[in-house]
Symmetry: D2
Subunit: 425 residues, 4 copies
Amino acid sequence: MTGTPSVFAGLDARLPALRELYQDLHAHPELSFQEVRTAGIVARWLREQGWDVTEGVGGTGVVGVLRVSDGPVVLLRADMDGLPVLEATGLPYASTRTGVDADGNEVPVMHACGHDMHVTCLLGATALLAADRDAWRGTVVAVFQPAEEVSGAQAMIDDGFAERFPRPDVCLAQHVGPIPAGTAATRPGAVMSASDSFAVRLFGRGGHGSAPENTVDPVVMAAAVVMRLQTVVSREVGANQAAVVTVGSLHSGTKENIIPDTAEMKINIRSSDPAVRTRVLAAVERIVRAEALAADTPKEPEFTSLNSFPLTLNDPDATATAVAGLGSVLGKEQVWTLPQPIMGSEDFGAFGSAMGVPSVFWHFGGADPGLFPDPDPASLVGGGLPPGVAYNHSPQYAPLQDPTIELGVRALLGAAGQWLGIRTS
Amino acid sequence: MTGTPSVFAGLDARLPALRELYQDLHAHPELSFQEVRTAGIVARWLREQGWDVTEGVGGTGVVGVLRVSDGPVVLLRADMDGLPVLEATGLPYASTRTGVDADGNEVPVMHACGHDMHVTCLLGATALLAADRDAWRGTVVAVFQPAEEVSGAQAMIDDGFAERFPRPDVCLAQHVGPIPAGTAATRPGAVMSASDSFAVRLFGRGGHGSAPENTVDPVVMAAAVVMRLQTVVSREVGANQAAVVTVGSLHSGTKENIIPDTAEMKINIRSSDPAVRTRVLAAVERIVRAEALAADTPKEPEFTSLNSFPLTLNDPDATATAVAGLGSVLGKEQVWTLPQPIMGSEDFGAFGSAMGVPSVFWHFGGADPGLFPDPDPASLVGGGLPPGVAYNHSPQYAPLQDPTIELGVRALLGAAGQWLGIRTS
Amino acid sequence: MTGTPSVFAGLDARLPALRELYQDLHAHPELSFQEVRTAGIVARWLREQGWDVTEGVGGTGVVGVLRVSDGPVVLLRADMDGLPVLEATGLPYASTRTGVDADGNEVPVMHACGHDMHVTCLLGATALLAADRDAWRGTVVAVFQPAEEVSGAQAMIDDGFAERFPRPDVCLAQHVGPIPAGTAATRPGAVMSASDSFAVRLFGRGGHGSAPENTVDPVVMAAAVVMRLQTVVSREVGANQAAVVTVGSLHSGTKENIIPDTAEMKINIRSSDPAVRTRVLAAVERIVRAEALAADTPKEPEFTSLNSFPLTLNDPDATATAVAGLGSVLGKEQVWTLPQPIMGSEDFGAFGSAMGVPSVFWHFGGADPGLFPDPDPASLVGGGLPPGVAYNHSPQYAPLQDPTIELGVRALLGAAGQWLGIRTS
Amino acid sequence: MTGTPSVFAGLDARLPALRELYQDLHAHPELSFQEVRTAGIVARWLREQGWDVTEGVGGTGVVGVLRVSDGPVVLLRADMDGLPVLEATGLPYASTRTGVDADGNEVPVMHACGHDMHVTCLLGATALLAADRDAWRGTVVAVFQPAEEVSGAQAMIDDGFAERFPRPDVCLAQHVGPIPAGTAATRPGAVMSASDSFAVRLFGRGGHGSAPENTVDPVVMAAAVVMRLQTVVSREVGANQAAVVTVGSLHSGTKENIIPDTAEMKINIRSSDPAVRTRVLAAVERIVRAEALAADTPKEPEFTSLNSFPLTLNDPDATATAVAGLGSVLGKEQVWTLPQPIMGSEDFGAFGSAMGVPSVFWHFGGADPGLFPDPDPASLVGGGLPPGVAYNHSPQYAPLQDPTIELGVRALLGAAGQWLGIRTS
């Protein structure tokens, strides 16, 4: 493919609407599986463009199908959910919304992972594809997935996704991240890490804060667990192996002078190698159990799985094809090969796995290129970010609106165009 | 005083009503400064008995005054508040209520410290005193204090207590505890420890759980603080000095894969010696600050005082008098001298301090005597409890209804009788 | 007894020799069971005074017997050993000696616990008793015990002490400490704490410092044990219970880049109550084992008992007698009653226990009285020392030579005189 | 180069002598800078073969020069020192020797890093080169370096190495390791990590083990440091960044009941990226200082540098040349490209750096190939070793004598032959 795909002809004219859409989504984030407003906007937009729309797939998921001819079927996926983070971007369209989380607590909500950008870009692409149906062939399945943060892809699959929609030849998805706007980054094979999350309940024995000798203090037990868990990565994972053990949440007690009965932790484990994953999971459980023994726990700790994301694997051939397509729109040198898997995780791979179809997942830049004195794909896999660039999930995270929206639309169509044979002018 | 005080004549007849009152109070605990229902019951009861009643003293406090003659003025105080504990006593009248705590969270509420028993016994005593006004002389000021758990006595004092009510010659109060029903325990001098509580907010820098290197993890910071705080008592307090450092509450984060920005702790410190108190408070602050430095905190920890209880000091002469009175109703050998101050704290001393009046505070038993193979006052000051006996503030704590109500009434009147000259029959 | 015992007549004349003796002993400390030079000096001195001397009792122990008549038999005991401490007193007669400890290491040696003072005072008393045999009646058994720091009393008993020497009516011993010279302090019942010491060997699996994932790091395991052991006193011992858990020695590894195979710890536990002792010992073992599990140890930790001192119990009647004797020479108000047992331990009780004879143990002051603005027996049991006063076992510890030698001789004879009927002039 | 280099003709005949030499060296390891016996053997061997020998270079270093013609100059380097490890290989020629380390302690000594194999292979190569001088051209500089474990290369350079010996065109060195005998592994660019080691002295304040409140306990302080240091790698180093922080040695105290004055630690830090190195070094110092503050240290910790190894960088062109030479003797598929730098460190790079000459460093296998079900270069960089294979520096480490000696000689000559033009038959 050379030249400019004709479908891009209408992009400039649509940018004001896409910006408005993006700001509206950003200001109205919704927690996982609660994306009702977002799904409504998506469905309306798709219908207006003439797509065949199915709502309520796997809860709040929306699937649009547009068939212009026989030929290749390409699945394009965007995720829709926000996070329980208190936004601190200072943007005029910053979120001030709250939601009720799975534990029944009211929490702030923010699009701290850029899923609003994913939705915007895919809706932009669907509009261009619908507006110029002669420019390509085959079928596009546009998937707006709920609850990526908690494995919502599986909910769509469990809801009959494979049987209800055309079987794709390839599944494509992109994620915005803290690399310079205008770049993309991916790699064949493992591209995103495995992630295993579970809750741990530690059991102490409560009592008056002045008489610890009559209690088993779960706050101290939990603190000992947290400190000892640091040794998993520091001592049981080699320097050239990749793993992260994060205790993202720790809650125990209500009053200063009552020793509580229990402590609750939520632990997330990342790994990019199956043997390391096995060892780390075992070490975490071993440490939790042993530290409870050390505390003379009256009851064994309880482990509850929260979610589990496998390694996200890019099909090597499909990746080469997608990279060529990305290069055609972003410039070949702007498409980076990641040296290692990123430690973040994704449930996008669930679609390809469930249907036996190759997938490709790539990152695209949303950060101000002027902040990167020395742009380097390693920054995505752990090389550190330049000052002023925030990481996904932080209260400061937001991609630049421009040119990220435009380039995200182009990237999607550039990659998909390799299968859809999008005509160039 | 020998023989049975005549005021006790009516006690048997009133016990069914006192039991009903107790069970009702127990089933309807209210959090500190929210004792609206309890205060209403108290005020109605006092009025029915002919006491002069003032409501709303220091928030929800109630003061009853009964003057039968010139002569001694005795202040008797009961505290009214419950605790945010989920009751696990299995009693038929166990609390199933919740309340909204000072942080706006809905929490279970339980009379886990026996304040319902204090109210019941003092209401029993007020009824007997009112029913037999010839049997004694002087004035009784019955104080139903809110919020003992968070220094509610000070609120009553700040509300003009000293100016609005008769100045007492002595202030008396009793607390039910895990010693055998039928016993009482006290000591001259320091009887309850000092307690200092504060909240600590630790500042990290949030981010994605997979990239801790871009964050400062407040969960790890808090765990390090908790572990290091253990060294205050283990290394900086002598074996023959008494101090407790309890982190009763630790909260950080919401999701497993988001490293949060902050961690919140509530710390309670007990001590029974001013020099030890000074050292321990300094050590706790030093450790919190140093552990935050070790974590490379972006912001110094914030300390917020929650409450502060001084040493509760029993006037030696008044204590000897009260002990004699307690012995007259419980049996002399049933009134124990505590070898050391109890590590629990009280704000009762605030009344005496504010008015320059001697106070006496004692404990009375609420536990099944059959569970104590070897009754020992040391069990109250740290000697350990026999199996089956729960400590105040635990979800299992509840005094035996009988004979605790009856003996609690007798104890109050036995002690007060030494000043009021209650006639014996 | 009133007036001055006639045996004291010669004390002034002997002080120069006693000072010289003290300085010589101080400058030549010997480790436990290596007190060869000290024992030689003791034996020579006793023989010169006409005592019946037996050397080599329980290793390096020396026993002198002087019988002047039928009648009471009093055992007086002094301990002889120094400690592996590098002296930092700056005294002109400070030790610069080294010794070889039980592990074969060359270590500095210092009389950091004042045993040189004990020997000096007892030798002074033996001289006075020998010089004035008409002034008293009965028999004195002067015991110069080796290795108090490691339970050397038992070695003397195992060597047939009870069978080889006259059975005493009472056993007396004194210990110099950081209270004002001129005072003594003791109590009936428990006067010194129980002490249990053991070595722990932790097993890791060594390897290259760059590849911890192929090892089990015993340094981290040991650190986790030490940190978690702090929770025994902070959480499992009540504020009014007395216990200390000290890891006095921790050794692991040789080079920075080799992860070692093992770590070695020496742990000392003090307690003044049998139930607390049982709980603390169990907690320490539980924690060591659990922390080894947490570390995935290839081999269970090994525990080796080092020594064990029981509670030192003062016979109440004999204590009253001895206190009267001490008061007669020091002044009644200078003899303090300790409020609680001291956390230090002693093996002196082994003599009385082995022979079924009452014992009395007291402390006498060696510190400059001018440094104590507010002398208080609590300073010995944990109230903190004034600036400039060092505690036994510290590199700065040394009693004042004067008047400690003189007063120590007087205290010994004052107490013993109650049994020996020392004539007063 | 194809065919067998003629210099190998004599290898079979020399193997018995090389095995004897190897066993003798293995049984007689010497600590760093104490390689007197080893150096003597080396010098004698070289002289017997006709090399020009200089002894005492940089202490115990030996340099042999053999010039057969004009032409390329190749430096071949072997290191000679053993380690303070107690050998546990069970080999008939296992070391039972001890040495006196830099701190004056007697320690066991073992060739736990295979330097004896390095010396043996280089001596084998020197013999073959000397025996067949027509088979090659140019000059070989054979360097037998002392004290690789503590940067002994720098001592040779400081002793005028560059000025005293022919300037090489390339510097070559090899290291035996736990990969299958018959394989070699290297990579262009960073091949070995940076290593920074320092000693830390922590200051407490000693005293009696029963009175921790009068002390600052350095054992607890050190334990807190060790635990908190684990957070450097777990929280401050990204999963895809490589760093190791090892506390290889921790020593404090002598007796269980004396709280010591100080604790001594030796820390080793590995990193394969300069920015990560900077951050980790700063974090370690920050944590040590903050933990000392938390302990209320009377004196700031002291840091003493022990040694510092830079990244070992392989010249890309020279590496390609050397790899070709290794492939010609081991088989091309037996020469692996390492995916990442090894976390171990080397001072070999000092020669090339000092003289501005390209270097190549490679690993060669010493482990039983039968133990590797799935040989993988990742095992060297952190993929884990199969059961039965020990890592360098462990008490179990020893390369297989056969075929490692033979293959090590071949590898050296295969690589060097690319420059020396070794004739093949």
